[in-house]
Subunit: 254 residues, 2 copies
Amino acid sequence: MSEDKPEEQSNIIYLGKPEPVGFNSKTRFLPVINNTVARPLPVTSTQGPVKPATRRGRDERCDAVQNRQKVLQAARQLFAERGIQAVTMSDIAEAAEVGKGTLYRRFAHKGLLCQALMDHNTQAFQTEVLSGFGEAGRQATPLGRLQLFLKRLMAFTEENAGLLRAAFEANIDKGSTEFYSQASYDWLRMTMAVLIKEAIASGECRPNLDIDYLADALLAPFQVGLYLHQREVRGFSTERIQAGFEQLMRGILL
Amino acid sequence: MSEDKPEEQSNIIYLGKPEPVGFNSKTRFLPVINNTVARPLPVTSTQGPVKPATRRGRDERCDAVQNRQKVLQAARQLFAERGIQAVTMSDIAEAAEVGKGTLYRRFAHKGLLCQALMDHNTQAFQTEVLSGFGEAGRQATPLGRLQLFLKRLMAFTEENAGLLRAAFEANIDKGSTEFYSQASYDWLRMTMAVLIKEAIASGECRPNLDIDYLADALLAPFQVGLYLHQREVRGFSTERIQAGFEQLMRGILL
DNA sequence: GATTATAGTGGACTATAGTCCACTTGTCAA
DNA sequence: TTGACAAGTGGACTATAGTCCACTATAATC
């Protein structure tokens, strides 16, 4: 990773890692760290004052902070006006009144910019998961929480469909396998793995499962391209998808 | 679809459609139609003489046929020399000694060109599936054939990894949901659906499954980006993937 | 074999992504 | 305060994808 390039965040706090403990454990309700912007940001939000220092301990310059905000604001507005696909990086730079170098320094490509725009929603999602889904989650069994997680993932996909789609496309453009190395996917996978593990521990799932494989495999049907195809092109309802997935978890074999 | 644009093939012959009958039925061992090149081509191969006429009944011009061959040959060689990613469409046009207009008329983007280069392998795959996997298939139960199918799909993915990856990336570039509308994916899904249906009929799978949903969901873990990530980045063996998928089909619930 | 409609051709051209680097600004520490 | 230097900036520039269209070759028809 080069010195001056936008760095991909990796200090997300995972559920149950490195020593997975009970999902309900108080100690696990940790803050979620933003994982979508170019630089480490505080827990609060993309908007807030930037505290975390760079390698040498120097604060992010305030003109840089301003420019980041101008870029995000311009992108939000242009996306709303013309649709995400129709907006180019140059458009955004121009509307934000910054140079392309500045834009690309923060957001190496449109996908990362889209991820940054989803930041607030992403954090809400992560926080909810880490909090164990509030009251509903506390009353549920581990398997119930796994199902709550997937339901919440579907809702997240629905409400961020446009940005997720654009982010996916831009990320794939950088290499189709690298998508699965991203922190955001990693977080989904780790969360899924913990939830499966706990469902095994509670006796609701079979023992001796290949958890790491199954975490991937069970997330795969929710991959944004396929999910949106099912919803928009094939006309599947969310209920149908949920029910179908339920069948998958139960297994197709008699 | 505009008149002069490369058309995406759609006259694949599906297993068991529109009236699905027994997989073993002799009548179903139909020829497979090429689904990867810009124009309808005969069953035999991309190389063979071109017969099928255009809408008005005129044969494809022989200079066009030659140029198609020159393009494919040039692409094959350049891909081998420099790697697929490093070769641009202009490189290919230049090496094939044709103009860019000619190149794009046949292959609207690199993905379709990659698909055309896999054509031979794709046909071999489809033929094998339609033939019921030869002797091994005839001795297997419907569920056994479903497993043979997925094993063969994995082998196909392994042997065409580079082209599949490039084709996937280029296709996603045109819209992440459209990938799943392609004839090639459609063929996989329909095949999967028939195999599940037959396994239900034979009593090996639960009845009342949402076959159309499950066909997608069970193919999703084999999506090329995820599969190659598991193989190359995470170091999963093909055996591990097969075993994990077996667990998925059995269901994770106790 | 001449005619004609039209498929096919090629390369100039446009659009966009993304890089590069000389220059400017802000922060720190002396 | 100020000097040094890292961080940040912006726009010219390069690379590539993909379009467009005047022109050419050829298959079908007369």
